[in-house]
């Protein structure tokens, strides 16, 4: 048998691409269960107060209506009394909204009723008939106005070593006494999750104590845990299925009120219930990148060495849940500043809870940090790239230990060459093409190369194909494709002979798809499961053919129909014999990280270079070139990896130039409620993003050498664009997005 080409690193097309583009892929709202009923949520129209009356009579009488559920008649959800005490969710204190649990209104559009009917249209119509009376209380939805009530997150109060705690090295706020210093305040508005697929769930009580959820989630097991707990059920009684997820960027990392509502509704009507949020409800019910205020002060020596940075951040959270994110992480470790201070604070507003949104806090923080780096470079009259090189660190200045790997310098070089950084002029406004001012800017991103434990199973089937399973999900990056490639190399089989199944809580355990950690974590589990399978087959074969018992693992080959040995094609055992011997010849393995994380600081890095054109009269900004270069460890699939980078870059364009969800604070209610008002980039806004990878393995993270891509694709893009706008116009916009009104 000819040894096949290595699959890792190849540009394999998505293994589920055909299913996706032909509509054969099944999403959470597409399970036509017998007796399916439809649920529509009714939202509050005030931001804070109490429900004093609910008239559901007209809705109940409407045709086809099966139930109208409110806090007045909702069945008791046992877990609501014990909720909010979840030690396994360290990023949050408090807990998800307990839907229909009491008469309290905590944010505008909070679900106050769910109407269940035999068709969607009838449920929607009846939902309009529900009448609510309120006793409103004074609400607060404005972050700046809440600044005086800002507080240190609970986890930081309890644990001074928490990454959310105040951080100090050298002298506190030393930048203030620096001779050369810059200081600025930055604002990121609320940005809302709007993947193509709306948040959807189909809930089915298969028995009074057995629940099946077809749910849009990034973690089948996290969702299983949450709802098992909510209903006081053993986890084994809850099944969560998310075979396909139509895009999720953090919005499905958490359990939300609509999921609880659908489960309650299914229990009440004793039928499976489907609930799909409207686009409008996506603004209020499934989290968002929180509105965040930041301040940075930085000082440097005349020869371009940073002497001190102080970075403060104030982010919004809800009144019932404390959401934190790593806004200040990049500042602590990116540049060799001897004096460094960070302070992270929250303000609790009368809004729904925020949640991580791609590149999460790091992207928010990088906007401020990388803008300040640019500003300082101008003050020093230095090329911003040169300024960054002068402050490059060969070891982690926060934890004082070596990087596992760091190829950021290589990224700088590759990216700068590709964009033509040498064309950039230091003086703003120097380059133009007719009415368009041209500018160049750069921004750096980093994100922890996280790895968690994961299980995977591998099973030989009689036809000689191999089935792999893992409870992980695929929200779009191409998880199944990457895993197929890893398995192909480990087994020596062509990808077509491998099936990777995911998105089911009954499959071997794995973490949630988030934080760029899936390939890092699940990849090794798949690899080891494949090795273990081969080894098991070898042992089985050894029983009848001693040559196998003596053979080296690497020499065992899976040929068509039989197991054989390299260089000895005559030595073979048919699969059907092996399977007869072993039953199903399946293995389940767990792959876990060791203590590398204590010895090394492990991060992915990226740099983004932008060329923008700003219209001198209208202030319109067009990104004409975007080069993203990443040090993300081994690249498993050139195509899907580049695809990740491009998607992240386009998300960064949205962040930089157009995305902003706006609340009218008088009502505590969004005025941007659809895609006509909340803009995300269209094709015409995105240039052909050029992606470059250093592609150097990091074997401290795992045996594959991967570090993670999803987040660094976005982190640093917005400041690259903002810095390019400055280079073009001399205007430093510190409040995103950079819309024309801020430049005319």
């Amino acid at each position: 048998m000819k040894t096949q080409d290595k699959q890792i690193g190849a540009a394999l097309s998505r293994v589920d691409g055909h299913q996706k583009v032909t509509g054969a892929a099944t999403y959470s709202a597409e399970y036509p269960l017998p007796g399916l009923a439809y649920a529509v949520l009714v939202g509050s129209t005030i931001a804070k107060g109490r429900l004093t009356g609910l008239d559901t009579r007209a809705a109940e009488r409407a045709p086809g209506v099966l139930a109208v559920i409110t806090h007045l008649n909702s069945p008791k959800v046992p877990g609501f009394d014990t909720a909010g005490k979840d030690p396994s969710q360290p990023a949050t204190v408090g807990g998800p909204l307990k839907v229909f649990h009491d008469d309290k209104i905590r944010f505008n559009d909070q679900p106050i009723a769910v109407v269940v009917a035999d068709t969607f249209e009838r449920a929607r119509y009846a939902a309009r008939l529900v009448q609510a009376q309120y006793a409103p209380e004074k609400h607060q939805t404005n972050l700046e106005a809440s600044a005086p009530q800002a507080f240190l997150p609970t986890q930081a109060r309890k644990n001074p070593k928490s990454p959310m705690a105040d951080y100090q090295r050298g002298t506190a706020d030393a930048y203030q006494t620096g001779a050369l210093k810059v200081e600025g305040e930055y604002v990121i508005p609320t940005e809302v999750h709007h993947p193509m697929e709306l948040q959807a769930i189909t809930a089915h009580w298969e028995a009074p104590d057995r629940l099946t959820l077809y749910d849009k989630t990034q973690g089948t097991l996290a969702t299983r845990r949450d709802f098992a707990r909510e209903w006081n059920l053993p986890e084994a009684n809850v099944k969560v299925i998310a075979t396909f997820v139509g895009g999720a960027f953090g919005n499905a990392l958490h359990s939300w009120p609509h999921e609880s509502a659908a489960i309650i509704a299914a229990r009440v009507v004793n039928r499976p219930v489907k609930l799909v949020l409207t686009r409008e409800q996506m603004f209020t019910m499934v989290g968002y990148r929180p509105y965040t205020w930041q301040k940075i002060g930085m000082s440097a020596t005349a020869d371009g060495k940073i002497t001190a940075i102080t970075h403060e951040s104030l982010g919004q959270t809800s009144t019932y849940e404390e959401f934190t994110e790593s806004t200040l992480a990049q500042t602590r470790m990116m540049y060799a500043a001897p004096n460094l201070t960070t302070r992270y604070r929250l303000a609790a507003l009368d809004v729904g809870s925020p949640i991580w949104m791609r590149g999460p806090g790091e992207a928010t923080g990088a906007f401020a940090l990388e803008s300040a780096m640019d500003e300082m470079a101008y003050l020093l009259n230095l090329d911003p790239l040169e300024f960054r090189l002068r402050n490059y660190t060969d070891q982690d200045p926060e934890k004082n230990r070596p990087w596992s790997t760091k190829f950021l310098k290589e990224c700088y070089k590759l990216g700068a060459d590709r964009i033509g950084w040498s064309k950039r002029q230091l003086k703003p406004g120097s380059l133009r093409d007719g009415e368009w001012l041209i500018g160049y800017g750069m921004g750096v991103g980093t994100f922890g190369a996280h790895r968690g434990g994961a299980h995977a199973s591998a099973q030989l089937r009689p036809d000689g194909t191999v089935l792999l399973q893992c409870a992980t999900t695929d929200i779009g990056p191409g998880t199944g494709t990457a895993m197929t490639q890893i398995a192909a190399d480990a087994l020596g089989l062509p990808p077509a002979k491998i099936t990777f199944e995911l998105g089911h809580s009954d499959y071997p355990q794995a973490g949630t798809q988030g934080g760029s950690s899936t390939v890092n974590s699940v990849g090794p589990a798949v690899q080891e499961a494949c090795y273990a399978l081969k080894d098991k087959l070898r042992t089985l074969a050894g029983a009848s053919q001693p040559a196998f018992a003596a053979a080296k693992k690497e020499d065992v080959q899976l040929a068509d129909g039989y197991l054989t040995l390299a260089g000895a094609p005559a030595t073979r055992v048919p699969y059907k014999d092996l399977l007869k011997q072993a039953g199903d010849a399946a293995v389940v393995v767990e792959a876990k990280p060791g203590n590398e994380g204590q010895q090394y600081s492990m991060y992915s890095f990226s740099v983004h270079f932008a060329e923008v054109r700003v219209h001198e009269l209208t202030g319109e900004v067009r990104v004409s070139k975007l080069v993203s270069c990443a040090d993300a460890g081994t690249i498993i699939n050139q195509k899907t990896a580049a695809n990740q980078m491009k998607g992240g870059a386009v998300g960064g364009i949205g962040m930089a130039l157009m995305e902003h969800a706006v609340i009218d604070d008088r009502y505590g209610r969004y005025v941007t409620k659809d895609f006509a008002d909340y803009h995300v980039p269209v094709h015409a806004d995105a240039p052909a993003v050029e992606v470059l990878f250093v592609n150097q393995p990091d074997y401290h993270v795992n045996a594959l050498g991967t570090k993670g891509i999803g987040e660094i694709a976005t982190i640093g893009v917005a400041p690259a664009i903002a810095n390019a706008v400055f280079n073009a116009t001399g205007k430093r916009v510190r409040e995103l997005p950079i819309t024309p009104d801020k430049l005319v």
Binding site: T45, R128, D664, R669, V671, K673, D674, H679, P681, D685
Partner: protein, 326 residues
């Protein structure tokens, strides 16, 4: 869903009668605006009279102009050879609006009668005098980035969102209307009205009146024209400010000019005084700047839309520059 009657008309007269029979009946053309409003509960007609089959979609050459049927699709008009030759400004404005899919559904009549995109109008829980007279104007002291700087009242500061209409008002178009009492002609500039004390009325049409066509007189504006639309992304967004500019040049001297703005008032905003300021002058930056200053006289901003006081004149200058160079 809300119950309503649906009928399909094949002749204008029948359509008008069908609408006249029922209070709160509405014509429906492409439905790209009306259906959205119905889904949000902003409009709840008792009856929809589908006019898509009326024989009113022709684009015809007349003795001294073009006649475009009210049911001609936005995309068909924008691509039409006659339109492109004789009224290229109209084609430019149409193509600046919405998206390819929407333009394939939207009609000329529906486009001019589309309703404001003001967020307070769209949210039935918010105050809005246009949607629910007497409830107040949510935008006046609310989020008013997108709102009017001309011709508003304390009852309403919404803007008319159509791009096509900005070109039509500049081109001195006439709207052909048929109602229960017969046909009439309405100068395009008189179709839309200012909010005054009755912002619930967008136009000067009578209830039950059907727009059958729009006529555009021939003119010298076949070359030096431009539609400049400033928006928050490269396409598929409503205008922050837009300008339709048409110049009749003799050498470098401006013999005639047309100028109108979108995104600044409750109606497409013709800039007659600015046109006067251009005529007879050389087509230079200084002339354009002067005209832009004239155009902005009387503009007044609210909390979030002061940028329009600067973006407005800049966009006029840019539109004129581009038109002159075309």
């Amino acid at each position: 869903m809300n119950q309503f009657q649906y009928v399909r008309a094949t002749q204008p007269q029948a359509a008008i009668e069908a609408v006249a029979q029922t209070t709160d009946a509405k014509f429906i053309a492409g439905g790209t605006n009306l259906l959205d409003l119905m889904k949000r509960g902003v409009m709840t007609p008792q009856k929809l009279v589908d006019i898509n089959r009326l024989p009113l979609n022709k684009i015809e050459r007349m003795d001294n102009g073009l006649r475009i049927g009210a049911l001609a699709l936005n995309s068909a008009v924008a691509d039409d050879k006659l339109v492109r030759e004789r009224q290229p400004l109209l084609a430019l404005a149409l193509n600046a609006g919405a998206s390819g899919q929407l333009r394939n559904m939207a009609t000329v009549g529906g486009n001019m009668l589309q309703r404001t995109r003001c967020a307070y109008f769209y949210d039935v829980t918010m105050p809005c005098n246009k949607r629910a007279p007497g409830t107040g104007c949510g935008a006046l002291e609310g989020i008013n980035r997108m709102h009017a700087i001309f011709g508003f009242s304390d009852k309403c500061i919404a803007v008319h969102p159509s791009d096509m209409s900005v070109a039509l008002v500049a081109l001195d178009a006439t709207v052909l209307v048929r109602g229960p009492r017969g046909d009439r002609r309405l100068p395009f500039a008189e179709l839309h009205r200012l909010p005054g004390d009755a912002p619930e009325k967008d136009t000067n049409l009578e209830t039950n009146e059907l727009i059958t066509a729009v006529e555009i007189p021939d003119g010298p504006f076949t070359r030096h024209v431009h539609y400049q639309k400033v928006r928050e992304r490269a396409s598929y967004a409503f205008a922050l400010v837009s300008v339709a500019a048409a110049l009749d040049l003799e050498g470098t001297t401006i013999k005639g000019a047309r100028l109108a703005m979108g995104g600044v008032a409750h109606k497409p905003w013709r800039l007659a005084a600015a046109e006067q300021a251009l005529v007879g002058k050389p087509a230079t930056e200084a002339t354009f700047r002067q005209a832009a200053a004239v155009a902005m006289q009387g503009a007044k901003a609210f909390k979030h839309n002061a940028y329009k006081l600067k973006l407005g004149p800049n966009t006029i200058v840019q539109a004129l520059r581009t038109a002159a160079a075309a």
